[in-house]
Symmetry: C3
């Protein structure tokens, strides 16, 4: 439970809010790099943290992210002409480059002199992991990009999406760091193989037997919750421990990274990994950037096809990045399926999460909730969010942004003797108590540079 | 005319408003029982008096009406799984029975103990007359169900609907207790038989001559209005007296019953009777529950078909309970029909009423109206609403709810010598000065119990 | 730049606002006369200056413009029956004539006496130039109709439209009095003949060579701006002077007339003239009434067809008077066209203006703009608007309305030796320093009177 004041503090992200300022200390993904497929392609509207922006890729391949409105008479630069290393307002021909500098004022008598006095708000951008990222905070505090593994692997080894969620960002973020709900929201009610398959793997399901990990999730619906802070206020490890076969325990370990990233707990070594970063569009809408990657091999065409049509954390999407199963159609909930096969009656893990989070209300009222022990991860995370935001409001900078290498961690599951502690499990599973990947990727060779497009 | 303050008091119905509190002292119909057709069927969203609720029928057939949101983390129970005498939140498996008791907490370590401390808001429900009714007030003031005749007859003798009105509740309620408008809004401009038929009886019209009652309504557009209070502040009888043939008068007698029921004035003895109960969804929307019944015989298939496709007080509806002729399509007003045949150009009595009431504004501004003598019923009713709501705000309970038998009255028309008073007419027409049915139905045999479904 | 306070003053037009009061001192076009095609035709909803009205043409052809709501119980007269020199509310039969007088109260006992005490708000109307105009101010200040040339010519010599703009009125008004933007928003990026043609003249373009005037607009993107007030605070002449061939200058001269009319600068003598009047629907929507006329000859069928399908100031419209290329479909912006042929990628002059004006925001925030020398006309006009509105708020009536003959001016272009002043150019081009037409049209023969319809 939060007081109405704390709930307000947590959920509001405009430029003049404490949480909005905190988000502005981090690099945030804001669109798919493929939305700007080539130099001088059409500009794209971007709304992030209650600010209306326009993104364009200039003739050199750099991505500019500017105030949507021309400073002159505030015509939208979305209508602008992307030409020769700048975007030109079509109202009076004012032109700006990707850094926000005015480079042409053809309609003004003393334009050549005046243009040095004209600026448009511009945010630095980077391309990483197939997304365009931006930093919207004060230049003197601009950090390095967080070194998340999905961005460090070669493009062939990852699959990425973004989707719109019609609710405040914190609902999606909290939903992901909750190990318990997997035993209800995401599971079948019977052990019927087809039900499991349809639900967990989509229509193409064809394995011949049920994964014991899913069985353990079904059989133990009351995992114990273990929370360990990551160093440098980077976030926390949140793990659910369930009974497995014999004396073993089945651990599902989430890594939560400031401000709003979670790495999913379901993967064994060698399998695909999944993660999500929630970015507020405004107080009532959010983007969920979801990524699947395999550190050891390229994803197959079959895997890409399956993920692209809705599987794992990726819902089936329309061309506006809205889930096809959405609030407007009640997520196509199938009451017969719900009665006979699955808890939710909704097809798709991502869709199930979205349905629940949106159903909490456009801005979830945390003063009316009733938290229990299994919500320990959520409670701890809220504390970190609120404390860090309050400190920043008092002039104390957050520590996490300046530790980009700390983001190079892994999450996943583990089956271990029931007597082992989370720390022991982490070391056994990941070789590091915090799941850190050490010097892996430090060669940097795999860092993406899209064809012909330098990392700006 | 009301002051802006009184208008506000009359129209606002949230939990903390005087009128909202008054509504919460009465049993209110909230949905068709057929929307919950069988035990363990899908739950249904219900918004009443600005509160978001979810209704479900449990394995025993009982209807539960709960806060829409799970008390834990406020996921919607509309997404919930209706199973074995309770509804289970699919987020973490918390389960509630129809009385709001938490009956399972599988995801919480000390769930068996904790569940006694967890409750969800629940309102008592009843099934009566084919509707589900609820009581949303303090338990210590819970009255008996009002003994309205349409609910006391056998199901075969009634036909019921509900429809959404896109305006404040009081507009619909006031519209019905106005005897004068029938001479304009609902009538043809000529005595052309087909026009009358099409308008009054729908497409299937096939009588061979025009009813003299309709002729009197057309010929005397200025009835005198007679208002008599019902005992125990139950409401009032509002009658319009028109010239009939010779020295006779044609009376049309409405019974208005607190808080928002009206029984229609058009029926002669032996004919079908009609009534409506308006229930606020919130300040800007309302349900109109409409019922037709015949105390003496079953309705025929032909009658059901005609009523179901839009006739008398029942508009033609889509599957969301919205009239097919609605605000968005200007009620399909036919200007040629209006020029040549009927006043309104809109087909359907219910549609005509809806069009007018919605056209008064989403919340009708009573500070800008100009009432005349023919609005005597409305003026008196407002006085009763406001006084009773104000008294309740001062701690004085309303009297009407504790007189459920007082609702067992009839309305209808009468042709009597013009010299008779309303009291004399009531006694002659109904055998009782207030139209009360006496001990009729006190055997109770006809009270509905849906197959296998006890009255909870 | 305006302060937030001044911006608010400029943009708000409700009955109790300074700018709303100023608009109410002028005759304003409110609908096409053809929307009320014949006596006793269906009424039409009209929302102007935040007021909801209903217009109808009575049996004598007079246009009534009344409060939308019947004074009795505020049913909408849009649902009313237009019959025998009045509109009858279909709720209780109250009937009003075009002047707002109650002419029948059939449902009220002492109706014949009472009806003299009942009035509905009614505004005087005129038909002029194919539009219905109304005056919404105090009767004692009612002026004569402005004698605009498009209304003085015979109907065969003009073409008129109206279109809805989804933004505050002042954006459209300011957009038109800006001579510079023509060199960007409305021009092709190359001299390719087909591109010019498609853009300037629509699909039917078939001239064989490019007009040198368009070449000059392209070649000189930085005109000098010359502003001269019109007498009697009627408005101002705003002219852009560009280099033409040799020592010549190419002048484009706009006439701006209070409160919101502009005559377009593109026409040479003998060509068609164009003008626009912006009328606020409310603070967030406006009608743009656009007119094309030729003082010397009738428009051809081909011209009417071309204008009707979208050409010059007239966008292609749907049957709700909304541009087919609109905000909801991003004006069908064609990025390939924008890249290769025109600045905007949007087809149509009117559409280009609409796109830009709507992109400034629903209510453009003038506290965030950065005006330059080329915005001189806009800055001066704002000053006139604000000063006149403030004076009126202080009880000083505006001067312009009582000078209807002052509206009889022309705008247009001129090619003159570069050394001539605007005053000299005006005299040479129009025979008058303010472009006034002198005694032309004072015979009055051409003033429109629609067949059988007196000017009310």
């Amino acid at each position: 439970m939060l007081t109405p004041e704390d709930n307000r503090l947590l959920t509001r992200v405009g430029p003049d809010t404490p949480m909005g300022r905190l988000f502005r200390r981090f690099w945030l993904p804001v669109l798919l790099a493929s939305e700007l497929p080539e130099p001088d392609c059409p500009p794209v509207r971007v709304r992030i943290l209650c600010e209306d922006l326009v993104a364009f890729r200039d003739s050199s391949g750099r991505v500019g992210l500017l105030d949507e409105h021309c400073p002159h008479r505030r015509a939208s630069l979305f209508l602008g002409r992307n030409e020769e290393d700048g975007i030109r307002c079509v109202f009076h021909g004012w032109k700006f480059d990707a850094t926000g500098r005015c480079v042409d004022l053809p309609s003004v008598e003393n334009g050549a002199a005046l243009k040095n006095r004209v600026r448009i708000a511009a945010y630095p951008t980077r391309e990483f992991g197939g997304y365009v990222w931006c930093y919207m905070g004060p230049p003197e505090h601009q950090p390095e990009l967080p070194r998340m593994e999905f961005g460090l692997v070669a493009p062939q080894r990852r699959f990425i999406t973004k989707r719109r969620q019609f609710a405040n960002w914190a609902q999606a973020a909290e939903g992901i760091l909750d190990p318990t709900h997997f035993s209800y929201l995401h599971i079948p009610i019977s052990r019927n193989r087809d039900a499991w398959g349809k639900m967990m793997y989509g229509a193409n399901f064809s394995t011949t037997e049920v994964d014991p990990r899913l069985r353990w999730v079904v059989e133990d619906g009351c995992p114990s919750i273990h929370v360990r802070p990551l160093p440098n206020d980077l976030g926390m490890t949140v793990a659910g421990k369930r009974r497995a076969d014999g004396d073993d325990a089945y651990w599902r370990i989430i890594q939560f990274l400031m401000p709003s990233t979670s790495l999913a707990p379901g993967s064994s070594e060698g399998e695909n990994y999944h993660g999500q970063t929630v970015v507020p569009i405004d107080d009532e809408n959010a983007w969920v950037f979801s990524y699947t990657w395999n550190p050891e091999r390229e994803l197959t065409e079959q895997e890409r096809k399956q993920l692209g049509s809705g599987s794992a954390v990726h819902p089936a999407l329309d061309d506006q990045f809205t889930p096809k199963r959405n609030r407007a159609n009640d997520y196509l909930i199938d009451r017969e399926l719900q009665k006979t096969q699955t808890y939710s009656g909704i097809v798709g893990i991502g869709e199930q999460d979205t349905a629940i989070n949106e159903s909490q209300g456009v801005i979830y009222d945390r003063s009316k909730e009733f938290l229990v022990a299994s919500d320990a991860g959520i409670a701890r995370m809220r504390k970190l969010w609120l404390e860090t935001a309050r400190k920043l409001a008092d002039g104390i900078e957050p520590v996490a942004p300046s530790h980009p290498d700390g983001y190079k961690v892994r999450s996943g599951n583990a089956v271990c003797p029931g007597s082992m502690t989370l720390e022991e499990v982490m070391v056994r599973r990941f070789g590091h108590v915090h799941g850190h990947l050490g010097s892996m990727y430090d060669g940097g060779a795999q860092q993406e540079r899209a064809a012909g497009v330098p990392v700006a």
